[in-house]
Amino acid sequence: MSLATSICAATMFIAGVLVLWFSTMFMISKKLIIKFIPFFIVGILLFLTASLKFHNIFIDYLWGALDLGWIIVFIWIFIVIRRENGN
């Protein structure tokens, strides 16, 4: 694995840590556990993506499942924002 790909994966890993950290923080501080679940999932997805990249694993159905996860989680976030915004 090249240096750039390693750093790329490392960035994803850091992103995963940050997203998990922030979502957990918001979950606790604002007592919005259910609403921040999608971001919690985003954090996990980032971890999974980073680890697959680190280990150079390119299995189609695995990436397909991850992509499906991303699609679901972004739709979820979008629906929550729309509902909370009220229009």
Partner: protein, 615 residues
């Protein structure tokens, strides 16, 4: 200077610089990719073919070892040799036809030569009365007078065939038949020069072309039947053997047995007339070395479609030489191996064999280069022969390393080719696999053109965006209605029906997907599933981006607006480049890093925006 021009010029110049760098990098990496890919294909193809040919030859070696030890073969070689009618007929008939044709060609080539000129011509005599079999020879007879004109033994010249009526009636009858048929053959008794009565076989052929003085000629080839010897028994084992041409040779050179339909049997390889035969050459070589060896390829006889390759081995019993066993095979199977390719649709890829004298021994794509006639003297063939010589000197590691290299040479047409070579040690052949450099690099031009167009498109779009941003700042500075057009845009998107968000997002994503796939096609596949899933994610993010205009909380709006924008850029980078980066390695992985970094910032911004919305 207004901001709009400053921004425009700045982005345009940077765009040109980065665009040039991008195109140059793209050119270099794609070229390297093409060369590496071709080298791998050539090497693997060459190794595969070399292995197949070596295995094929090893199989023949195993078979001859089996035959050498077989009781059937040993029994046949121990049999007493008997005179053979089939052998003499075939040998004399073929020789008669060949020599008669040569005689006719000579007369045609010298239309002004009379009978006397021909008699005096040394060249014509050498053709006409050349040896047939061991003691046999050619004879020229006058068609009208039936008088012998040329003969190996001068004392027979001038004899009249009509005088043979009483003493050799069979011969006389054959001769008389030539008045009716142009091809006559048969056995007869003949008293040889020592006075012994012996059985002979003759083939008479009327020469169609007359001499300059109008004399018609008959050519006859005749040989002694007892010169041809075979074994009289058949071997079921050899008849059913999977090699369809196995010959047995006695220690003194007689081809005493064959399982081939194409029976070249009973002849002796020591006879002068057979000295040019491939079988005779391999027999003499085996006699000298007393070991098994491959010989060929060689043309066994006129009209053969494929050259032959043969393997000979001496057969011993209790240290006594019983004879030799020979397996003869067409080169067809080896040629078929050479035709197999791993570079589909290639027009210039070819593999060919040369021997240690650089002689081409397999067909080439160039019809002007003939098999077993012309040499192929190029850098590639010389290197290969050099490697082959090193192999015999010492099987060093250096040779192995050199063998695996793919290099660019001028081939026998003077064209630049990628060339890979290997060798077949058993037969001392070199195998070369080559493909034209022009063909390999032909996709390069189209690839670079696409990258140039893409760069130009991106530069134009970015420059326009920079111009618009500059315009916004100009308006801001001029204290003109600073939110005039931006607010209009905001209001426009805020009031837009949600269906239009979906429509605009779908058009933008699909448009980007197809444009990027056009500029960055991956290995002939237009769109891969990963691009589609990324495009769907980008579509959802784009909905979020447009929806951000409707978010009431200003802080949340800005965060989600920018966050979704960054994530969209991240996905767009992946759609366009990820196959090129991770699979084909045509681009630097750092491009991916830019996307990942933007994605990270985008996600954090969206979390903050989300927190603002839901609080």
């Amino acid at each position: 200077m207004n901001n709009r021009y400053k921004f425009f010029i700045f982005i345009f110049i940077f765009g040109i610089i980065f665009g040039t760098m991008f195109v140059s990098y793209s050119y270099t990496s794609y070229k390297k990719n093409l060369v590496d890919k071709t080298s791998d294909q050539l090497e693997s193809m060459m190794e595969d073919k070399t292995q197949k040919i070596n295995l094929y030859l090893s199989d023949i070696e195993s078979d001859i070892s089996m035959l050498r030890e077989s009781d059937d073969v040993k029994n046949l070689l121990k049999q007493e040799l008997v005179y053979d009618e089939v052998g003499i007929k075939q040998d004399v008939n073929i020789k008669a036809q060949i020599i008669a044709k040569e005689v006719e060609n000579y007369i045609k080539a010298h239309p002004d030569q009379t009978l006397n000129d021909l008699k005096e011509s040394k060249e014509f005599n050498e053709i006409a009365i050349q040896p047939v079999g061991n003691e046999g020879y050619g004879v020229i007879v006058d068609y009208d007078t039936q008088i012998i004109l040329m003969h190996k033994f001068p004392e027979f010249i001038g004899n009249d065939f009509n005088d043979f009526n009483d003493e050799f009636p069979e011969l006389y009858n054959l001769q008389m038949e030539t008045k009716i048929h142009s091809n006559v053959f048969g056995f007869y008794d003949w008293k040889d020069v020592s006075g012994e009565l012996r059985r002979k076989y003759a083939h008479f052929i009327n020469i169609k072309t007359k001499t300059a003085d109008g004399v018609g000629l008959i050519f006859l080839a005749t040989a002694y039947a007892d010169d041809y010897k075979i074994v009289s028994v058949n071997s079921e084992y050899l008849e059913n053997f999977h090699h369809k041409h196995v010959d047995l040779i006695s220690p003194d050179g007689y081809v005493i047995y064959t399982n081939s339909q194409d029976r070249n049997i009973g002849i002796n390889l020591n006879w002068k007339e057979n000295s040019d035969m491939g079988l005779a050459k391999i027999y003499f070589y085996a006699k000298q070395t007393e070991d098994g060896l491959f010989y060929g390829p060689y043309i066994e006889k006129q009209g053969s479609i494929y050259p032959k390759i043969s393997l000979i081995s001496p057969v011993y019993e209790n240290g006594v030489l019983l004879g030799y066993v020979v397996i003869l095979e067409d080169m067809k199977e080896i040629y078929d191996f050479l035709k197999e390719t791993k570079i589909p649709f290639s027009k210039t890829e070819e593999s060919y064999l040369i021997n240690e004298e650089l002689l081409l021994i397999s067909p080439s794509m160039n019809e002007n280069i003939n098999v077993l006639v012309q040499t192929v003297d190029t850098q590639g063939t010389r290197d290969c022969v050099e490697d082959l010589e090193h192999y015999y000197d010492s099987e060093s590691e250096e040779v192995e390393e050199h063998e695996e290299e793919v290099e660019i040479f001028l081939d026998y047409r003077g064209e630049e080719v990628f060339s890979s070579h290997g060798y077949i040690p058993k037969t001392k052949w070199c195998l070369l696999s080559e493909i034209d450099v022009d063909e390999v690099l032909s996709p390069l031009k189209e690839h670079v053109e696409k990258k140039m167009y893409f760069s130009a498109l991106v530069i134009i779009i970015l420059s326009i965006i920079a111009y618009l941003i500059g315009m916004y700042f100009d308006n801001n500075n001029a204290k003109l209605n600073k939110t005039k057009w931006f607010n209009k845009l905001k209001v426009f998107f805020r009031n837009l029906n949600f269906t239009y968000y979906i429509l605009i997002s779908a058009i933008l994503c699909a448009g980007y997907l197809f444009i990027s796939m056009y500029f960055f096609p991956t290995d002939g596949v237009v769109i891969k599933y990963s691009e589609i899933s990324n495009a769907i994610i980008a579509f959802i993010l784009m909905l979020l981006f447009f929806y951000a205009f409707r978010i009431k909380n200003a802080k949340a709006r800005t965060h989600i607006f920018l966050g979704s924008l960054f994530l969209i850029i991240n996905k767009f980078v992946l759609i366009g480049f990820q196959e090129h980066i991770f699979i084909e390695e045509l681009m630097s992985s750092w491009i991916c890093y830019t996307g990942s970094f933007l994605g990270l910032i985008g996600l954090i911004l969206i979390i903050y925006g989300f927190a603002e919305v839901v609080k």
